[in-house]
């Protein structure tokens, strides 16, 4: 036992010596500081749990149960429906031959351009049509019965609305997983007597499971982050609870406790995701493998496949877009004015600034971690990218707490400034830029960075002459994704924006809150159009890669 403990102690001493003595330089120190600073807002939320919260017991006894119930129903329902829509359409376009398959292949990702709150507004009158029926129940049965029926309707509708625009997260990864699957495995299943149906359930789906879990986890994070849609449908969730407790009741400690509960829930989900994907090597990159040969579908099956692919596009893209376009054509003259141009410029300017800074930080952090082989920087990077898993409302609270402390320490007033808003976007979306850059660097730059080090070249020369030119596509993709996410972001912008600073997303929300949903269609459409451009670019990139 003593020998074992000595061995462990020696291991850690060596680790500390290598990490904090041998690998210490300006790059690693800067990366360490940046990584920790970007994690600070999340740490602030957890740290402030020690603050007394007088109303916590009241919150716990009255609304906490509702928030948990609301969040869980939405998460489970949206995840299940997203899996159904995403996996079924992915399997059809990846493995079956039917008319329009190529067209569906890329059009199925378009709902991703529509933010959840805009999807909700586009269906705003759906529930209104049920009001006479609910009133009839209240008058003829009871108020409780009406509430019950109302819940029974509003939850499924919200789940359908959320899943209709979030399923592409599952679709994209599932399709890629099905395409990359070893043809030999599929052919082996077929020679063992399994038809398409059985091959899907017993071979293709289990092989694609890790990828699908990754996609579903994104759906869950987005569902938990949503504020606009759940507020619109009046569903109690953690995010609406945080807003209500803090901004309406003015109880910051209570809101912090709710935020911490949400973080615990997310942490649980992340651990669950890791556990479900642990140690799995479900793909085969054998170069000798021939490409997947799609199943030929007959006329009836082709018709059903087309219907199956059309359904998510209709509810997730065509219907919302056509309704928004109709309303926009009716209200455009009332909405477009000089103020609208200013808020459009605001949106573009702040999204550009956020994406540039985020991409620069992401490449610096990734490069430093990989180039110097520092496990400490890798760990702080992992902490820094946690922001994407944490809802915007929680990050906003963390940033405000951090700003308060900065103000107390050095007298710099960050609160209500654009720099604070940009910092919040960086914290929230660093992972979006980090993922493509890190995987690109792992795939393309690991060995050549070693080569450049052995040639005596400095780190900055390796970064600028080798890594950045080689990662050009990944950098563009990272920048575009952060740009679009910033344009769409709502809860964080609502809380942290400077006084009188409007963006397209806040304008859409404000107009919708004032029951001017037709008017909100114009800024909403602007967001969607901007979001569509990178999706089209991404689609071309995926096609080129597959070729």
């Amino acid at each position: 036992m003593a020998a074992y403990l000595i061995k462990i102690a020696q291991y850690w001493l060596r680790f500390i010596k290598h990490e904090f003595y041998f690998k210490l330089n300006a790059w690693t120190i800067s990366a360490l500081v940046i990584g920790l600073v970007l994690f600070l807002p999340m740490a602030e939320v957890v740290w402030h749990l020690t603050m007394p919260a007088e109303s916590w017991e009241h919150l716990r006894d009255t609304v906490l149960g509702q928030y948990i119930k609301g969040s869980l129903i939405l998460v489970v329902g949206t995840a299940a429906l997203s899996i159904f829509l995403g996996v079924s359409s992915a399997w059809l376009v990846a493995s079956c031959k039917f008319p329009g398959r190529k067209f569906f292949e890329w059009i199925l990702i378009l709902p991703l351009a529509i933010p959840t709150y805009i999807a909700a507004y586009s269906y705003f009158d759906l529930l209104d049509k049920l009001n006479p029926f609910l009133i009839w129940i209240r008058l003829n049965i009871s108020t409780e019965a009406m509430a019950l029926v109302s819940d029974a309707i509003v939850y499924p509708v919200t789940i359908i609305v959320l899943a209709s625009v979030l399923y592409p997260y599952v679709y994209l990864v599932a399709r890629a997983a099905f395409i990359q699957q070893s043809n030999q495995c599929i052919e082996a299943a077929r020679t063992l007597g399994h038809g398409p149906h059985s091959t899907f359930w017993r071979t293709a789906l289990p092989l694609a499971r890790p990828a699908i879990i990754g996609g579903v986890s994104l759906v869950i994070m987005e569902t938990l982050n949503d504020y606009g849609a759940v507020k619109h449908f009046n569903i109690p969730t953690f995010t609406t609870g945080i807003f209500r407790t803090w901004l309406s009741i003015g109880d910051l400690p209570g809101a912090l406790r709710l935020a911490a509960c949400l973080m615990v829930l997310i942490l649980f989900l992340l651990i669950l995701e890791k556990w479900l994907r642990f140690g799995a090597k479900f793909h085969n990159n054998s170069k000798s493998d021939r490409p997947f040969k799609p199943y030929e579908l007959g006329q009836i099956k082709s018709f059903l496949a087309i219907l199956c692919c059309l359904f998510p596009i209709i509810i997730g893209f065509i219907l919302p877009i056509s309704r928004l376009a109709y309303w926009a054509s009716q209200t455009i003259e009332n909405v477009i004015d000089s103020n609208f141009l200013i808020l459009t410029a605001n949106s573009i300017a702040i999204a550009t600034a956020a994406s540039l800074i985020t991409v620069l930080l992401a490449i610096f952090l990734t490069f430093t971690s990989r180039y110097f082989g520092s496990r400490t920087i890798n760990a702080t990077n992992r902490l820094a990218i946690l922001g994407y898993a944490v809802p915007g409302a929680v990050i906003a609270i963390g940033i405000l707490l951090l700003a308060k402390q900065v103000n107390q320490a050095i007298g710099w007033i960050m609160t209500g400034s654009l720099s604070m808003l940009v910092l919040a976007y960086v914290v929230r979306f660093l992972a979006v830029a980090w993922q493509p850059i890190d995987s690109g660097m792992e795939r393309n730059c690991e060995q050549i960075n070693n080569a450049s080090r052995s040639l005596g070249v400095t780190a900055i020369r390796s970064l600028t002459k080798i890594n950045i030119p080689m990662l050009r596509n990944a950098l563009v993709a990272a920048g575009l994704f952060v740009f679009v996410d910033t344009m769409k972001e709502l809860p964080l912008t609502l809380i942290l924006r400077p006084f009188n600073f409007e963006t397209l997303s806040t304008k859409t929300f404000d107009l919708a809150q004032q029951a001017q949903i037709p008017e909100s269609a114009v800024p909403a459409l602007c967001i969607i159009i901007v979001s569509l451009l990178p999706l089209i670019w991404l689609n071309f990139q995926i096609r080129n890669t597959e070729k």
């Binding site: 061995k7 462990i8 291991y11 060596r14 290598h18 003595y21 041998f22 082989g373 060995q447 050549i448 070693n450 080569a451 450049s452 080090r453 052995s454 040639l455 005596g456 070249v457 400095t458 780190a459 002459k465 080798i466 030119p469 080689m470």
Partner: protein
């Protein structure tokens, strides 16, 4: 003069597993070519990466030209070591032309005539404006070599330099490499799993097994006097005959596990004996099987105590289940 000295290099990746390198030491003289040879998992690439500075050892010292590069308190980063490294898959920068690749290293532009000389020596003149993907495997390898040599490193490290080449090309590249090393008076440490490559190119070889240097010496020394079964088997099939059966054998080693003295006998060191009065040690037994090879017949032979593999000339008539007397001839 020692260019490279390794002292007690130890490296573990996981405290629960045996170390990847275990107390390994050797020296490398100026202009010497050393091969690190061993099976997969023997630690040869790890050792190469430690010398290059891409990994840090847990213990031990790396000294290059009297400068300590690794010790308990020193770690010189790869870019500050004077070691050129040629990777197994060459690691050429795909976004740079051949010439840009070659002059990328620190100080590579200080002596353009040296670069031109290297380019001419390796026969890649005329390819300078091409990108790596426009070159064949052999051309890529030469570019990687020139790139590494352009900075005039004290020590050149090569990771499996011939593993990507087909057998025909391999032989000519081996000769070219040796010529280049001799002409440039470069000190070289290279990794290989192929004993033929190591024998053809190296002045000395370090035979590695499970992170340890089992034997260091010239290929001839190691071939004739292997320290144990593993080392002997590197050179192909070997019979291990207890010394009591061949008391006059010129060499034997003691096997650690059984503490038994064994004589390594190569399959071609046997011959069929018709004359029972020979002075050579003889063995009587039965032929188990005969496999025809291009240059010889491989015979599995069984005595009352041993199973022996022997190679016989193709014109020698031998049948399965026939009885034979064979003799060991150390001179063969």
């Amino acid at each position: 003069m020692n260019v490279l000295t390794l002292k007690n290099i130890t490296k573990s990746y996981n405290s629960n597993e045996p170390p990847a390198l275990n107390d390994l030491s050797f020296n490398c003289q100026s202009s010497e070519v050393i091969a690190l040879i061993g099976g997969s998992g023997s630690g040869k690439t790890t050792l190469l990466r430690i010398i290059a500075g891409l990994e840090a050892p847990d213990y031990g010292e790396v000294i290059l030209n009297n400068d300590t590069l690794n010790s308990s308190t020193v770690f010189v980063t790869p870019e500050k070591r004077d070691c050129g490294l040629v990777f197994q898959d060459y690691a050429l920068f795909p976004n740079r032309t051949v010439r840009q690749n070659i002059i990328f290293g620190k100080g590579a532009m200080d002596d353009p005539s040296w670069i031109n000389e290297l380019i001419n020596m390796t026969g890649i003149a005329g390819l300078e404006k091409r990108f790596p993907h426009e070159l064949s495997g052999g051309q890529q390898q030469r570019v990687a070599l020139v790139r590494a040599l352009a900075t005039r490193p004290l020590l050149l490290l090569l990771d499996e330099p011939l593993s990507h080449l087909d057998p025909e090309l391999k032989e000519s590249v081996r000769t070219e490499l040796l010529k280049l090393f001799r002409e440039t008076k470069t000190t070289v440490v290279f990794v290989s799993h192929d004993i033929e490559d190591a024998t053809a190119m190296a002045d000395r070889m370090v035979v590695m097994h499970k992170g340890k240097a089992e034997q260091i010496g010239t290929s001839n020394e190691i071939y004739k006097n292997p320290m144990n079964k593993n080392v002997a088997r590197l050179f192909g099939k070997t019979n291990f005959i207890p010394i009591k059966l061949i008391p006059n054998a010129p060499y034997s080693f003691t096997e650690k596990e059984s503490n038994e003295k064994l004589v390594p006998v190569r399959p071609h060191q046997w011959r069929v004996i018709n004359d029972p009065t020979t002075d050579l040690p003889t063995f009587n037994g039965k032929v188990k099987s005969v496999i025809n090879q291009v240059s010889h017949k491989e015979v599995e032979f069984e005595t009352s105590q041993l199973n022996i593999t022997l190679h016989l000339p193709t014109n020698q008539s031998v049948q399965a289940d026939s009885k034979l007397t064979i003799a060991y001839n150390a001179e063969l």
